[in-house]
């Protein structure tokens, strides 16, 4: 079980409903690139040493001091890059609480962006499941239009996005009821109707 992340300014009456990470399949391209970067140079060096006429020269270059330094640094830094991408993946989180939605976005090593959206401000929620992999692994993008002047909220690669959409809408409905506003008047996120291209829109 994943620990709940630290949510900035968490209120006493606020409870965490969902903690959403990107789907693991969204990280597959990184893994593929990493494996290619690890295996292709090593395989090429092995083939060159065993088959080429200048194999002994290649071997002596690779085992020389500059060769060892360069190869060592190459493998260390591609490993670091892969690890950094994984940390980014792990720390990109969307937290849905009973009061708001918080997006915690890690960009690189030194930038972390936290944006929040109050549930009553939601005007329109859209789920997009486009392409082979999203359809196969059931993940998609959730876009949230708001009444505020802030840009559109969106979360990429969210697993089971239709379930998340329903949860957000029901939480918003509850929040609006608790505020004494009739759901569907202040915000239009009640009915869910499937559209083309695997897009579901709550309007």
């Amino acid at each position: 079980m994943k620990r709940y992340l630290h949510i900035p300014n968490q209120r006493p009456d606020e409870q965490v409903s969902l903690v959403l990470h990107r789907h693991w399949a969204t990280f597959l391209p990184n893994t593929f690139v990493f494996l290619c970067l690890v295996l292709i140079p090593a395989a090429a060096a092995m083939v060159a040493i065993r088959t080429l006429a200048g194999g002994p020269i290649v071997k002596s270059v690779l085992t020389s001091i500059p060769g060892v330094f360069i190869a060592s640094l190459y493998y260390l830094f591609i490993g670091l890059n892969y690890f950094r991408n994984w940390v980014d993946y792990m720390l990109d989180v969307c937290v849905v609480t009973t009061k708001r939605i918080a997006r915690l976005d890690q960009r690189g090593m030194f930038t972390r962006i936290v944006s929040e959206l109050e549930l009553p401000r939601i005007q329109d929620v859209t789920v997009e499941v486009k392409g082979l992999f999203p359809s196969l692994f059931r993940y998609g993008t959730i876009r949230i239009q708001t009444a505020a002047e802030m840009p559109e909220f969106f979360f990429v690669g969210i697993p089971k996005p239709y379930d998340v959409l329903r949860t957000i809408m029901s939480l918003q409905e509850e929040e609006l009821r608790s505020l004494g506003v009739a759901p569907g008047v202040a915000a239009k996120t009640k009915s869910v109707s499937p559209l083309k291209d695997g897009i579901i829109r709550g309007t």
Binding site: R3, Y4, V68, L73, L76, L80, F83, L91, M109, R112
Partner: protein
Amino acid sequence: MDIPLLLLGIPYAILLGIHIVMSVVNIANLYRYGSGDMHASFVVLVYLCYVAVILLFSSLLLSNVDWRSSFHISLPSSTIGS
């Protein structure tokens, strides 16, 4: 021109230092922002093993080097006229 072999190790040591700092920052970020669960700890352990294996191989390959020796670089000379 004779260059001490140890001089080659300086850029390597600097880049290795940068690598270690960046690794520490990433691990610190991971734990600071609350993803320090079992899964994250396992991945950190795998990453540290990966780094250890590479450094071990490098040190094995470089274990026979006499760092106090120097290597010689001769620049091509050109002659003007006959």
